[in-house]
């Protein structure tokens, strides 16, 4: 269909009125550029927000704690307090092989609480977490010096700790060796084996910087927690959603702690996956809005092309008459008009996509120079979007040419030739 001659014909026809061709093409250029830019900005917003709000914890996770029963059950009263035990963790792992990590956690003191840590003449109030080594996989953090907790620490109840940047700031002078020094938590000496920093965190950063991690078993032994587990951070494997698993987990916990099966309030939880879903849904809608608005802008460009092709056809009525007199069939005329509009649309669309790509590149360049901006990161579009845009272009190019192409051959050649 696109022989060399066709190309020549089309290029000649489009070149015949270059200014008008350019102006017409600008409509589609602008439309597709806006479509791509809108999608890229939506994407940047999505990435920015998710990296700052949620991506700092494994998304297929939930936290689970106890809140006291709300129903009497098997002779036990309501408002009974209960605690998870360390063997709940093993039970969960064996009952739910779909779970990736089950991290029991305990917590002592707290951010902005009373002073609980001493080193030499310096004191500070920090949050002390008893954790398992898996925790770093659920909440990614950068180890700046030394190491994180290990299973040997757990098994041997080692009194070691990993401390956050603000702990370092308040307990150490500059240039002091941190690794290998001791700090006293609630009267117990701990060897510092590592320092961490949580990147990409927002809001909680101060609290997180004031955190000390110690092995879970050491925590329970040193601070007399026995086998109590304060709360758990549970992550499911990628192929199963934690939201689907959680009801089963709750029932198991209710059975193990003699809680009424209907007692929803006994177990508190926060489902990160569901939050993430909701939040993803929001951005899906934003993407749809982007497509919608972009497509509407593009449509006005396409109407412009259609319009101008109609005028072109009208202007060339006589030429079309001549072409038919020398043997052009209506089909070849239609095909040429269609192809002219198609080429015009695709060329201007490609230019629009390239322009948008340039703008995105500049945006990214500025973002790189400026450093991270809140809730916005790396605006970009995937190849899928580019292909979608191309398909929209081809479709709209055909659409734009259809009416003019039909009107081009509606007139009888004898009437077309009579036009002056």
């Amino acid at each position: 269909m696109f022989s060399n001659d066709r190309w020549t014909e089309i290029v000649e026809a489009l070149n015949a009125n270059r200014m008008r061709t350019t102006l017409t093409a600008f409509g589609v250029f602008w439309g597709i550029a806006i479509l791509v830019l809108l999608l890229a900005l939506t994407n940047g917003l999505r990435k920015g927000v998710s990296s700052s709000e949620l991506a700092n914890f494994a998304t297929n996770s939930m936290f689970m704690w106890t809140q006291g029963t709300s129903m009497p059950y098997k002779g036990l009263p309501r408002r009974r307090r209960f605690n998870y035990k360390i063997d709940d963790v093993a039970a969960l792992k064996s009952q739910f092989p779909e779970l990736k990590y089950v991290s029991p956690r305990n917590q002592l003191g707290g951010y902005q609480g009373a002073n609980n840590v001493i080193r030499g003449m310096k004191t500070g109030a920090f949050q002390v977490n008893g954790d398992y080594p898996e925790f770093i996989k659920q909440k990614p953090m950068d180890i700046l010096q030394g190491r994180f907790l290990s299973y040997s620490d757990i098994n041997e109840n080692r009194k070691i700790c990993v401390i956050g940047p603000d702990v370092v700031k308040s307990l150490y002078d500059r240039n002091e060796d941190i690794i290998g020094s001791y700090i006293k938590i609630n009267g117990v000496n701990f060897l510092v084996v590592g320092t961490f920093k949580i990147s990409n965190s927002q809001g909680d950063s101060e609290e997180e910087a004031n955190t000390i991690f110690i092995p879970f078993t050491t925590f329970n032994q040193a601070f007399n927690y026995g086998d109590i587990v304060g709360w758990m951070a549970i992550t499911a494997k990628d192929e199963t959603s934690i939201t689907e698993l959680k009801e089963g987990i709750f029932s198991l916990m209710r059975r193990r702690h003699t809680i009424h099966p209907e007692d929803k309030r006994a177990i508190g939880h926060y489902d990160l996956a569901a939050e993430f879903e909701r939040f993803n849904g929001l951005f899906d809608i934003l993407t749809i809005v982007g497509y919608f608005v972009g497509a509407l802008v593009l449509m006005s460009g396409i109407i412009g092309i259609s319009n101008i092709m109609l005028i072109v056809v009208k202007e060339r009525t006589k030429e079309i008459g001549v072409r038919r007199a020398v043997g052009a069939t209506p089909f070849t005329i239609k095909a040429q008009i269609l192809q002219e509009s198609l080429i015009l649309t695709i060329l201007s669309g490609m230019a629009g996509i390239s322009f948008a790509a340039g703008v995105i590149w500049i945006l990214n360049y500025i973002l790189d120079l400026q450093g991270p901006v809140e809730n916005f990161a790396n605006p970009s579009v995937s190849m899928t979007v580019v292909f979608a845009a191309l398909i929209i272009l081809v479709g709209s190019g055909l659409l734009a040419g259809l009416i003019p192409a039909n009107s081009a051959t509606k007139m009888k050649p004898v009437d077309a030739l009579r036009i002056e």
Partner: protein, 221 residues
């Protein structure tokens, strides 16, 4: 066209043999252009029959009509009707494009016919860079390029001064000398006298149809 039908031609019966050069005369409104359009398959008669080289022309679809126009007929118009953004050569080659010839063959043939009308040196000029007579000669080359059976000319000299008119007529005469059948619509007596047969139309009927002594044009330089 239009709701009120107007019978322009009211019973025309005539034959043109191969190799004839016929002029159709008549005042405006006599139906001579309509007759030519019907002969050129640009228009269709409401009734009656038309046979072109043994092929009945009746109820053609557009595709077939386009094919016949391309292969059997060559048109020359009063206002030249060249495609203004194409060079003389491309204009001549246009019918061959629709015939489906390869570019190389098209260009060779088109150049041959341009040469024949004496415009080989002007092949890359746009119509706007040519004089009226040159344009009409390009149009004649375009009409001849598919080697049609009949050349139909609608007031071919209508937009030209008499010197140029004679040049174009001389060209048309020389084409006729090679055996091509030619029909010319004109209202100028001196032009019709250069043909071999004059058909006079008035109000849609033939009032006379005579062979005439052809006036040959002297060689102009």
């Amino acid at each position: 066209m239009g709701s009120n039908s107007l019978h322009v031609l009211k019973g025309i019966n005539f034959n043109v043999e191969e190799g004839e050069m016929v002029s159709i005369m008549g005042s405006s409104g006599s139906g001579k252009s309509t007759l030519l359009n019907i002969l050129g398959i640009l228009d269709e008669a409401d009734s009656g029959s038309y046979t072109l080289d043994g092929v009945p022309i009746k109820n053609l679809n557009e595709k077939l009509a386009a094919k016949y126009r391309n292969e059997f007929l060559g048109f020359v118009f009063q206002s030249f009707n060249l495609v203004n953004y194409k060079s003389a050569l491309d204009n001549v080659a246009l019918p061959l494009y629709y015939k489906g010839l390869k570019r190389r063959e098209r260009m060779d043939l088109a150049l041959h016919y341009l040469d024949k009308v004496g415009l080989a040196d002007w092949s890359h000029h746009l119509p706007s860079e040519l004089s009226g007579g040159q344009k009409q000669r390009v149009a004649v080359a375009r009409a001849l390029v598919t080697d049609p059976k009949v050349l139909l000319a609608d007031e071919p000299t209508g937009a030209l001064d008499s010197t140029t008119s004679y040049e174009v007529m001389e060209l048309i005469q020389s084409i006729n000398d090679e055996g091509k059948t030619i029909l010319i619509v004109t209202h100028e007596t001196d032009i019709s006298n250069m043909t071999k047969r004059i058909v006079n139309l008035k109000d849609g009927v033939i009032i006379d149809d005579n062979s005439v002594e052809q006036v040959r044009i002297k060689q102009h330089v």
